[in-house]
């Protein structure tokens, strides 16, 4: 043996195990899927904006004509105006509400928390319908508001209702992570309450506030249902896309408006990512959680505030519910279930509701599987950094894309005659695919967060024990992440039930969804039946969510005895 001789340096060849190989193949397949369901449709949309009606390349002509048509350009200004005003109202209100939930002693806290979430279970056109009942041309309180509810005011009120839970959830998370010792230190140093608020509370919630503002701004700008129902002649970007595509069949201009709509949403998303990156963990493992102590004046004020906000939310929901049960608003106020006989208002009748259920179930199952397995592949594959970076990018992209823009991209991509996938067009499958793509980011993030929380050495241990990685996935990783998996599934189900924007371009007569049918019925002038359909959606998604909470508490507790100490 010639150990004395220096070993020549040869580049090391790393052999891949079968696990490595399988996971890499899986990752490449995931990239393929995400390209198909996210990137290529957007690319098709981008390309469409440079074509005329006949498909000839016309350069920037469409964009030039967009920005030189005052009617179109005005919508952009309108959108920004509405979004700015809504953000200015929702964020402070959500901050106060979240402050009440996390930092004060509130009687019936769980109830207030629950009520604040209600709007999430409703399609966005529900608050619009309720406002029509209250302040519309035949509304109860029409006289009170002087002018017309249709337009700017109506959109703002309905958007505030619709965006409130999203902002509140972000603020609750931001405010819940407080270290009691910071407050004790401030007290010990003799800081006044006001000073403590501005030097401890507010800085701690800073990133939450920015995040909430960006989320509200994006939601308002990209929402379609509210402006559709209560916008009147007040045009915004989202309704313009719809009008250009459905009304005038002008796909190129629709694509241009879509791109204009994409810009602020993408920008808000980028800013949010940058801000999130700056956020360091305020709550270290050693932090002492803050438990609020009773304080009469403060608690009274916040109880009153929360009661007021909750009453507003319940009033809007209640109005929609009541309206849906009334025979002929406002002349015959006797109650009826006739508005729930949807066959009288829409050719599909109840079938659209069952379509929604099928679509939501399909999205929940297929989407959860794709998102969780995808996130797992991305987290656990050894090496392969470039592809993992691409997956991360593609997984984040949908968050920045308004539903209506994605839906439009789907038309251009999947309806192209030369696309071998165009057999999917006008099927239930494309609705599921589109919805999975639309909500991909949150599911991916939830799964990634859950996977990051479990010991990174599980895979090392299984490799040393010669157990294939997929076996550990099935026996250990997935069972541990079960709560997160359920969260993703429920999130997808609820959003699939309520979404309007991304699917409005994609349904076929026999795959029409309840939320879309509600838009159609409302368009035809039957507010009561539209409200009834919205109510059915609210009840369904709220019930599913309630079942989820109960399952979390009881079923998981039994299945996952190992969590108990």
């Amino acid at each position: 043996m010639s150990l004395a001789a220096p070993t020549p340096k040869i580049a090391l060849r790393i052999n891949l195990s079968r696990d490595d190989l399988l996971m890499r193949v899986g990752l490449v397949a995931l990239v393929g899927v995400l390209l198909l369901i996210v990137a290529l449709p957007l690319w098709a949309l981008l390309a469409k904006g440079f074509e005329d009606r006949d498909g000839h390349y016309v350069g920037l002509a469409n964009y030039v004509s967009y920005f030189s048509t005052p009617a179109l350009f005005n919508s952009a200004l309108n959108s920004f105006h509405v979004a700015a005003v809504c953000t200015a109202i929702v964020v402070p209100a959500a901050f106060l509400y979240a402050y009440a939930l996390t930092r004060t002693v509130l009687p019936g806290k769980w109830l207030f928390q629950g009520i604040s979430l209600i709007p999430i279970f409703a399609p966005s056109l529900l608050p619009g319908l309720a406002l029509v009942y209250l302040f519309g041309n035949q509304g109860f309180f029409k006289a009170m508001i002087g002018g017309s509810i249709y337009g700017f005011d109506g959109i703002v009120i309905a958007q505030v209702f619709y965006c409130f839970p999203h902002a509140t959830m972000i603020m609750v998370t931001a405010l819940a992570t407080a270290d009691a010792r910071l407050y004790e230190a401030a007290d010990a140093l003799g800081a006044s309450k006001i000073r403590v608020f501005f030097t401890v509370t507010l800085p701690g919630a800073k990133y939450g506030l920015i995040s909430a503002a960006l989320v509200v701004f994006t939601l308002v700008i990209t929402d379609f249902g509210i402006a559709k129902v209560i916008g009147g002649n007040f045009n915004v970007l989202a309704t313009d896309v719809y009008k250009q595509v459905i009304g005038q069949q002008n796909f190129s201009m629709g694509a241009v408006v879509g791109m204009v709509l994409l810009a602020p949403a993408a920008l808000a998303f980028l800013v949010d990512r940058l801000v999130q990156r700056k956020q360091v963990a305020l709550l270290t493992a050693r932090a002492v959680p803050l438990i609020p102590k009773p304080k009469f004046g403060r608690d009274l004020f916040f109880t009153a505030f929360c009661t007021l906000v909750s009453a507003g939310i319940l009033a809007i929901l209640g109005m929609a519910a009541w309206g849906s049960l009334i025979k002929y608003w406002p002349y015959n106020l006797s109650l009826t279930l006739g508005n729930y006989e949807f066959a009288n208002f829409d050719a599909n009748g109840w079938e659209s509701y069952f379509n929604s259920l099928r679509m939501a179930a399909g999205t929940a199952i297929a989407g959860t599987a794709l998102m969780f397995v995808g996130a797992w592949l991305n987290e656990k594959t050894r090496g392969f950094g470039a592809i993992r970076g691409i997956v991360q990018l593609l997984a984040f992209l949908p968050m920045a894309v308004p539903g209506i823009v994605l839906g439009l991209g789907y038309i251009f991509f999947f309806n192209a005659p030369n696309n071998p996938l165009n057999f999917l067009y006008a099927t239930m499958a494309i609705l599921v695919i589109n919805t999975v793509a639309h909500f991909y980011t949150v599911g991916h993030l939830t799964a990634t967060t859950a996977l990051k929380q479990i010991d990174p050495e599980f895979e090392s241990v299984s490799a040393s024990l010669k157990v294939p990685i997929w076996k550990t996935f099935g026996r250990v990783t997935a069972p541990i992440c079960l709560p997160a998996i359920l969260d993703i599934a429920i999130y997808l189900f609820v959003n699939a039930m309520t979404t309007v924007s991304s699917v409005i371009f994609l349904y076929a007569p026999d795959t029409k969804l309840a939320s879309v049918a509600a838009v159609n019925i409302e368009e035809a002038g039957t507010t009561a039946a539209a409200a009834a359909l919205c109510l059915v959606i609210v009840v369904t998604s709220a019930t599913v969510k309630a079942l989820h909470l109960m399952a979390d508490r009881f079923l998981l507790g039994r299945l996952q005895a190992w969590r108990r100490r």
Binding site: K9, L12, N15, S464, L465, K466, V467, V476, R563
Partner: protein
Amino acid sequence: MTNYLEVRDLSKQFGDFTALGNISLDVAEGEFVCFLGPSGCGKTTLLRAIAGLDPQTSGTIRQKGRDVSGLPPAQRDFGIVFQSYALFPNLTVADNVGYGLVSRRQARGAIARRVEELLAMVGLPDSGPKYPAQLSGGQQQRVALARALATSPGLLLLDEPLSALDARVRLRLRHEIKTLQRRLGVTTIMVTHDQEEALTMADRIVVMNHGAIEQVGSPQEIYRRPATAFVADFVGSMNFLAGTLETPERVKIGGLAFACPAQDGLAIGSKVRLSIRPEDVRVRDLPADVANRVAVEVAELDFVGAFCRAALTVRTDGDVAPDVALVADFSSNLIRDLGVDIGSRLDVALPPDRVRVYAA
């Protein structure tokens, strides 16, 4: 005798950063080797390269004569225990221990018997049906050990296995792991930053710093004859006195000269550091002609329990030489017998055979 594990010219780069530079190392069969060093010295990186979890950039690893350099972990032969235990929380202790056995298609009864045997071996015979969260940290680490040994691997890798445990539990597990390792004769590599752990458990210690090996040797060698100033400083306590090498056997420090073992590696006149461990400073029964005698004054006296750690200032010609200071360990007996207190003046000696000299 052929070595069980042969590491040759192993390097690991993270971009521009060299985590491991040309490491070569042999481990004999049945040996217990500790990688010891401060955090960031590359000891865990080396362990993970040996396991194949984070492959090296270049260099070869042979295990039992087989070149495993490029093999994925699943094709190597080792069991591993992590600081975090990495027990599967949703599986019972028995299922955790049997995890690697199940996939080997052994009969159910055989697996159950083996699991029982392993649990008895680590002293947890009745914990099979429990979940990891119901066990204490020390118990969880025993389960992790049993799981790693279940498939009878040829090599056991321990990545700071005791660092997350309480001091008392740590002491007991140290002993148990060592006993178990001896009984099974399994070749073992343990990573630790705790010098005491390395000294008590290892057959051989590999001291690492900045991605390179500083010294390889038995615990006694490492402690008694540290090869470098880094090792001397990192393992145990050490006095360092800056001086100049006057002759191969004499170091000049201020106005004093100290005899030392012959230095052939160092140039005459070069700056050196003379070192001696606090417990090697002699006080009692100094012969009249004792070498390296110095007069000192006790500046501080810290009570550490079994002994006192004294800070001494050296006096020359009746004056205090403030730049020459020594730390010495005085037993309680000595302090009582000699009536040592702060301000006491006494003579001490630095035995030349206990003195070591390093380049400054």
